[in-house]
Amino acid sequence: MPAVSSQPEESGLPAGVIHDLGYRPYGGPRLGEGPVAWAFFLTGLRNTYGLGRSARSKALPMILLGLMLLPALILVGVLVQAKNLLDLDEQIVAYSTYPLTTQLLISVFVAAQAPALISRDLRFRTITLYLARPMRRAVYVLVRLASLTVATFVLIAAPLLLMYLGGLLADLPPGRETGRFLGAVVGAILLAACLAGLAALVAAFTVRRGLAVAAVIVVLLVSYTVVTTIQGIAVGSGHEVVGEVAGLFSPYTLINGLQVFLFDSPDATPTPPDGTAMGLLYVVATALTILGAIGGLLLRYRRVES
């Protein structure tokens, strides 16, 4: 509201001022909630990769990004060099399988960065400063979540893009590759949203230093280990339905199953969802995970005093 804020200066009579030290007040345009939220989103996104932070904060995310890209680079190299030799006519590892293969790196990234974005504001009470700006509580939560989701998406999708470009250069059929790649990108968006939502929720409840990292890792790693154990046993003993239901309980297997159902991607788990009913259950579970995490976060921040 430029008109309001510049009024005291125009009239020359300071209103409601306890001490007038004679400093000139800011009389320029004041941006509203939208630009504040956008700037906050960009800062959060840059911070997850350590940009604008110390060199030590850059090390972990950049190393993880490098490690994510390395296998993709090798796969592309093999594809380009040995396409005719090995008689390959598609990607060596499917786009939808790649996040599952590298789930350890993605988990470490999310676990390391979610507390950096979420817990620190609560621990050092910087959140009061943010909430003092014209940005509402709900917007603060959603923007923080958006930063984390986009950062995770970049980590997951960067190697997929590399593989896609390499595949095109290696003369794989462009139409089919584009379709599969776009399906995998949708999967990457949903996976990033699920992981970021869960990690942010856990981080918002564990303010203590270091503990949030451990808690996120425990949730992601233990759920994935348990699910793969159950699926392995289920397929070995002929109880496929149990394995399919178990797949709902880890973000990685959930999103992979979703991609199998929606885009007919090659399955990376022993028991992908079989049939429309189970596929729809995967869709519902994905929506519930994302929306539930957002709802939980909003509830949690209602109790934070500003």
Partner: protein, 239 residues
């Protein structure tokens, strides 16, 4: 006055700091998951060896035990170093080794209660003949991890992250890919103890005469090095 090796006050305070707030909840979740999985597997395939191997080795020994040790140990020393209150403890006329030993007693209790006993129960559910071996392996492995993580938490302020990366990359990723890692891997040493007692094959070519002394060296050596490090300890700021 003769120097005591365990200070009961520190043990009591340590137990309180572990079960304060959310850390305790996480510690309770892990055994519940393990036992729940065991009941499910038992319902699916009964007493078969494959299920017991997946649940007890794949989840229990390689995931639950190190995580319980990490959570317990990181709740003992790191928060005090973090908020600076360790200086009050260090200012007391107590040997630094006594402090470390007392803290590790609490961590060992946690490993016993939240890792070894749940593994024992899970093994009894899945395959009773494995019970003793896995419980002992879990206990010894957990103790070694506690010493290791205690040392990490006086070495760096990012002990939890470093510990997790060590677990995931060295014990998990590289341990699965490279066979040579077994000579320097706590999980595989404890697996060697398990297979000696429980008639199950977990690691190839890792003799017991190497595994048990290696575990003992890590437990005792880790505790001693931690105490030594605490003697010349200085508080540093964040980043």
């Amino acid at each position: 006055m003769r120097p005591q090796t365990i200070s009961r006050t520190i043990v009591r305070l340590g137990a309180q700091s572990i079960f304060g707030r959310w850390r305790g909840a996480l510690l309770f979740v892990l055994p519940v998951v393990l036992i729940g999985l065991s009941i499910l597997v038992r319902g699916l395939i009964g007493h078969e060896e494959m299920g017991a191997r997946h649940a007890l080795d794949g989840l229990g020994l390689t995931v639950i035990v190190p995580l319980v040790a990490l959570l317990a140990t990181s709740g003992l020393l790191a928060p005090e170093i973090d908020d600076g209150s360790i200086s009050y403890l260090l200012a007391k006329p107590i040997s630094r080794h006594t402090i470390v030993a007392s803290k590790l007693v609490v961590a060992a209790g946690c490993v016993l209660a939240f890792a070894a006993v749940p593994v024992l129960i899970a093994a009894l559910i899945l395959r009773p003949s494995y019970a003793l071996g896995f419980a002992l392996g879990a206990l010894l492995g957990g103790l070694a991890y506690c010493s290791l993580f205690a040392f990490l938490s006086v070495l760096t302020r990012h002990a939890v992250v470093v510990g997790l990366i060590y677990l995931l990359v060295w014990e998990g990723l590289l341990g699965g890919l490279l066979d040579g890692v077994r000579w320097l891997s706590v999980t595989r040493w404890s697996a060697a103890v398990v297979q000696e007692i429980a008639d199950i094959s977990l690691v190839d070519d890792l003799p017991l005469w190497y595994a048990v002394p290696a575990l003992a060296v890590v437990v005792v050596g880790g505790a001693w090095v931690t105490g030594r490090r605490l003697r010349g300890f200085n508080l540093t700021g964040d980043e």
